[in-house]
């Protein structure tokens, strides 16, 4: 954990605080609609499937697959020293997708459909970022 973290950090507000508090506790919390049962991501106070405002926080299994990925050879601001780095869209077991990155394997070994599980990267005192590492299928 560093205090001079230079990359963009999320602006955390009341609607999403539970998600980020969960990440700090190394739990991936997602929202599930009490009315229609649908999960969604990113976390909202409403269900984008049925517009119910009765949405729960539940703990995701943390397992999923790589839905797509790209290895960036040109950096986003703050990522200049990481090039080439990967970003990946992960499809969670619950059927929803989130932006993340694959860690613990070389970029050249990343494959779509690869099973992954969540790991937590404590970036700063306040922010922990969920990332994903390969698991044996």
């Amino acid at each position: 954990m560093t205090t001079d973290y230079k990359k963009p950090l999320p602006y955390i507000h009341d609607e999403t605080r539970t998600y980020w508090e969960g990440a700090k506790n190394h739990e991936l919390l997602i929202r599930k609609c009490r009315a229609c049962g649908a999960y969604h991501y990113y976390p909202r106070d409403l269900c984008p499937s049925c517009f119910s405002f009765d949405v729960d926080w539940v703990r995701a299994s943390g397992r999923g697959i790589v839905y797509s990925f790209t290895v960036c050879h040109r950096p986003a601001r703050g990522f200049e020293e990481d090039v080439p780095y990967n970003i990946a869209i992960i499809e969670l077991e619950e059927g929803i997708r989130m932006m993340s990155t694959v860690v613990g394997c070389p970029n050249a070994d990343i494959r779509i459909g690869m099973p992954v599980e969540v790991v937590f990267d404590d970036l700063t005192v306040d922010v922990t970022l969920p990332k994903f590492r390969p698991v044996d299928s």
Partner: protein
């Protein structure tokens, strides 16, 4: 006939100076394009009562209208990224049809290349902190637009076996068209091997899979059917339009291989009473090679997943059976940030038979499709001449 079919026509089109214009502001470029488009139509600024504008500065439409000296009775600033101007055509045709305005100006310009060289380029990655993309995507190193389109291309390759060579076919065809266009930026020969050997930007997209960064803009004048018949140029009829958007941030795209062109295209074809086999010419948003491939599928020119095989053998190039982006496209002609205005300009010129060395013979119908904002929005416009 559909709700807006032949209610309005494009009667004037023009580009501003293009390429690298370090001594001009975007307002000057908009004025230049507007003057040229009015001259093309044989109209004056006093004929304009409908005003359509899209851009990145604060309350840009009012700024542009002020600069030009227009007080519109109908104003539309719809801003779905690069597809804005296809959305505007539908909105203008609807407003004209409803009698809310008579003659509409659609105008836009940017100076991205000069801004970059001057070190004053806008940072398109840093949005408002409250944007979900800022909170949930940007901390992972996502930036726009190249990695966004790369995520789609990678998924298309996985699902359908699409190859980098097939994507390169699209860039090569665009370059062949550009070589016939005197105002195109990149006119030297380009091969599939050249595309594959160009620097990797974000896997699987190479530099030559990506559009240019240019200065420039354009203007399009649309007027009511009755008026269009008496003007300087042959009316280019609006036959059908459609629009849609399905998401904003790429992680929220329902299917990375399906753009909202599927929905906007369906609506436009239904309104026009036409199908893909009735279209003589395609002007498709080519921010990236993959963008063209997805639109060919989503608009029904080939089945989903067949786009890679469809573009093989230079089918989209001059003398190919499916002419696409006859000016050279965003890949080789010009790309100022929102290419959609140039799709309309080139289609109108082709339909009027003004394209000299790159003129496609016997063009009666053309389809323009704009894509904007992380493959998120799509506007389809089907045009035709009598």
């Amino acid at each position: 006939m559909g709700a807006l079919t032949k209610k309005a026509a494009i009667v004037g089109v023009a580009e501003s100076d293009l390429g690298y214009t370090p001594n001009k502001t975007f307002l000057q470029l908009i004025a230049q394009a507007t003057k040229r488009a009015l001259d093309d139509a044989g109209l004056t600024i006093h004929d304009i009562d409908g005003f359509f504008s899209a851009g990145w500065t604060t309350m840009e439409s009012m700024m542009v209208a002020e600069y030009l000296g227009i007080r519109p009775s109908y104003s539309d600033n719809t801003m779905p990224g690069g597809a804005a101007f296809e959305f505007h055509v539908q909105h203008a045709a609807a407003a004209i049809s409803a009698g809310l305005c008579d003659t509409a100006l659609i105008c836009y310009a940017e100076t991205r290349l000069s801004d970059r060289k001057k070190g004053i380029a806008m940072n398109f990655t840093a949005g408002s902190p409250q944007e979900p993309e800022e909170q949930f995507d940007v901390p992972y190193g996502l930036w726009v637009p190249i990695p966004v389109y790369a995520l789609s291309a990678q998924r298309h390759m996985y699902q359908y076996g699409t190859t980098s060579e097939q994507l390169a076919e699209i860039a090569v065809a665009a370059r062949k068209w550009a070589s016939l266009n005197p105002v195109a930026t990149m006119r030297d020969a380009l091969s599939i091997d050249d595309v594959l050997a160009s620097p990797m930007m974000s896997t699987p997209l190479h530099l030559r899979d990506c559009c240019l960064v240019s200065d420039g803009g354009g203007a399009v004048i649309i007027t009511a059917a009755e008026r269009a018949k008496d003007l300087r140029k042959q009316p280019v009829w609006v036959l059908g339009c459609g629009e849609s958007h399905t998401h904003r941030s790429i992680a929220a795209m329902p299917d990375l291989t399906v753009t909202p062109a599927r929905y906007s295209g369906e609506r436009a074809f239904r309104m026009a009473g036409l199908g893909p086999s009735d279209i003589d010419l395609l002007e498709l948003y080519d921010s990236f090679t993959i963008t063209v491939l997805l639109q060919l599928e989503d608009l029904g020119f080939c089945p989903k997943g067949e786009g890679g095989r469809f573009v093989e053998g230079q089918r989209l190039a001059p003398n190919g059976t499916c002419p696409v982006n006859t000016g050279g496209g965003g890949l080789s002609y010009i790309h100022t940030g929102m290419f959609g205005i140039f799709l309309l300009i080139e289609a109108a010129r082709q339909l009027r038979g003004e394209c000299a060395g790159r003129q496609v013979r016997g063009v009666k119908t053309a389809l323009c499709n704009g894509i904007g904002g992380n493959l998120a929005s799509s506007g389809t416009v089907i045009l035709g001449v009598d």
